[in-house]
């Protein structure tokens, strides 16, 4: 399936003549043997004429949690929305550079954007269940991706709800409206909905921003479980959260990637002075 997803691998002119994407330019000691799931090379991203992201190179490693931190408006969300081509929905935007998912350019002219979005799931800042029942919410992704078999559908819905640690709380009312759930439950429902279509990567865009501390803890526990089987990217404003859940952390500031590395190293011995200042609360 992966092989058929991108029948053409034509490169756009900007990326022609650059070094082969298979070679990673910035491999440091701690990342040498890691499998790369998403490879970002030399990207610039524009909203109209204003540049939101500038010359970013970065690798997202398989089955690891990568956190994006940085002050509001630094481009974290914009950045991860490039990985599932969500920014395509915004008019007058432009991307230069290369983004690969499993060694295939997701912005090539032949890329199947619908398939990319199935493989790269997303959980949004504000829980956004559909105004349908809990069951229908989870089954939706299966239906649009062509699963008609009722038995299989039901099994996968239940399985996803269990994986998202929601099943026990709602198993008696899966045919009730999803909008009656609490905020934290709604967010876990969104995670279940995302898991149902069997993605490889899950992007979390500030998933706990509108949740209380208990719901936040549940989501964080869930993230640690999920990384066994998924590659996770999480945008967060909460630096403790980044420290708790992530293996790698990227610090963005004003659209630039200031520092990227193992979370533990970045938080204890940041290489860049700006990272240190941000972590210690001197600005941001």
């Amino acid at each position: 399936m992966d092989k058929q997803a991108f029948p053409h691998t034509a490169r756009r002119p900007q990326s022609a003549g650059r070094q082969s994407p298979a070679q990673s330019p910035q491999k440091t000691d701690d990342t040498r043997d890691m499998a790369v799931r998403i490879r970002v090379r030399n990207i610039d991203f524009y909203y109209g004429n204003s540049r939101a992201l500038e010359k970013i190179d970065m690798d997202i490693y398989k089955n690891r949690v990568t956190a994006m931190i940085g002050p509001s408006g630094c481009g974290k969300s914009t950045f991860i929305r490039l990985f599932n081509r969500m920014n395509d929905l915004i008019p007058h935007t432009r991307l230069d550079g290369l983004i690969e998912l499993d060694n295939r350019d997701i912005y090539s002219s032949g890329a199947d954007v619908v398939d990319i979005r199935r493989r790269v799931g997303m959980v949004f800042q504000k829980p956004n269940p559909f105004p349908k029942s809990i069951f229908e919410n989870v089954a939706y992704g299966l239906e649009v991706n062509g699963i008609r078999n009722k038995k299989l559908k039901e099994a996968r819905v239940v399985d996803s709800l269990k994986k998202a640690a929601l099943w026990e709380e709602i198993k008696d009312r899966i045919h009730e409206s999803a909008l009656r759930l609490s905020g934290g439950q709604q967010q876990r429902l969104c995670i279940a909905r995302c898991l149902a279509v069997d993605p490889e990567v899950i992007l979390f865009d500030e998933p706990c921003a509108s949740l209380d501390p208990i719901s936040t803890r549940k989501i964080e526990e869930l993230l640690l479980e999920l990384k066994e089987s998924y590659t996770i990217v999480i945008v967060t404003h909460n630096m403790q959260q980044a420290a708790r859940v992530s293996d790698y952390t990227a610090f963005l500031y004003m659209g630039k990637l200031i520092e990227f590395g193992e979370t533990q190293k970045l938080f204890t011995v940041p290489r860049n002075k700006m990272t240190e200042e941000y972590l210690t609360g001197k600005f941001g």
């Binding site: 599932n84 969500m86 929905l89 008019p91 619908v114 398939d115 979005r117 199935r118 493989r119 799931g121 997303m122 949004f124 504000k126 956004n128 269940p129 559909f130 105004p131 349908k132 029942s133 939706y140 992704g141 239906e143 649009v144 991706n145 409206s177 999803a178 909008l179 009656r180 969104c190 909905r193 995302c194 279509v197």
Partner: protein, 300 residues
């Protein structure tokens, strides 16, 4: 504190003892209340007047029989049926076309100058006087396409007349669908068309239906567009095909009050027609409210 001398916040003082604002508020509220009362009064009087005078002539014969004795006796069944056909035809044409238009304009076209221009034109079209649509229908459907004065011509004319309001109402409800629903659907790997079909339209449906049903009320009551295109003053015949000309309630009221020689006998019949028309429109609105409430309470 800590030894530094605290400076008291200066008191401005000088406020008047008597506050005019309480009085102006009372006067303001009084006028707002008065506006509501005047509106309710006139609507109430209208309703009572029509019902009181209309209900006297409405009986089984009135609803089921054609007119007799040069419009002075009998019923108005052909007019009720004609209005029903004209309205049905108009909505059948305008609903799919209008909703499709709105979906395309909201979902598929980029927000550009041209689209804004199209939207503005459609909104302005909604304000064109209905008699203009009548003339247009006469020129295009009756003469050019040679449909004659018929249900078909009348329905098409009415359809074109309500198209702008159906498009506007549909656009409004489509735009009111939260963008987060679309994003959620697309992020799961749904195509744009799947997203529209399975998420956007179901969410917007109550709003679209409300708009459509309010348009039905308007279509049923319009006179000017059908004068030249569909309506006839008197026929004993029930329509046999879409090319038949028909009687219609609003035009029948107009005809009863302006033509004929027995004004004293015709006027009560006109009020009977008005009463029936009012009932039809109220029924349709009630259905609209019912559907909307049902949709809303489904997933509250």
């Amino acid at each position: 504190m800590n030894g530094t001398k605290t400076v008291p916040f200066p008191r401005a003082g000088g406020f008047p003892k008597f506050h005019l604002r309480n009085l102006t508020q009372r006067i303001g509220f009084f006028f707002l209340f008065l506006s509501v009362m005047v509106t309710v009064l006139f609507l109430g009087v209208l309703l009572v007047f029509i019902v009181a005078r209309g209900i006297q002539v409405v009986n089984w014969e009135f609803l089921t029989q054609p007119p007799r004795e040069a419009m002075t006796a009998g019923g108005v069944a052909p007019a009720i049926l004609g209005t029903f056909y004209l309205t049905l035809g108009a909505i059948l044409c305008a609903l799919p076309l209008g909703v499709a238009c709105a979906i395309y304009l909201v979902e598929y076209t980029p927000k550009s100058y041209v689209v804004n221009l199209i939207r503005m034109s459609i909104n302005n079209l909604a304000g064109v006087p209905s008699v203009v649509f009548g003339l247009f229908g006469l020129a295009i459907f009756v003469k050019f396409f040679n449909f004659g004065v018929s249900i078909l011509s009348g329905s098409l004319t009415l359809a074109i007349m309500v198209l702008p309001s159906i498009i506007s109402a549909s656009q409004e409800s489509l735009l009111a669908v939260p963008q987060s629903y679309r994003e959620a659907s697309l992020a799961l790997g749904a195509s744009h068309w799947q997203t529209i079909r399975k998420v956007v339209i179901p969410t917007a449906l109550p709003g679209i239906l409300t708009g459509v049903i309010l348009s039905i009320g308007r279509v049923a009551g319009e006179t000017a567009p059908i004068i030249f295109t569909a309506a006839t003053f008197y026929t004993r015949m029930y329509p046999s095909s879409v090319f038949s000309e028909v009687m219609a309630l609003p035009y029948h009221i107009y005809a009863l009050m302006t033509e004929g020689v027995h004004a004293d006998k015709q006027a009560p019949i006109a009020f009977g027609c008005a009463f029936i028309l009012l009932c039809l429109v109220l029924c349709v609105s009630a259905i609209a409210i019912y559907i909307r409430q049902k949709q809303r309470s489904k997933y509250g």
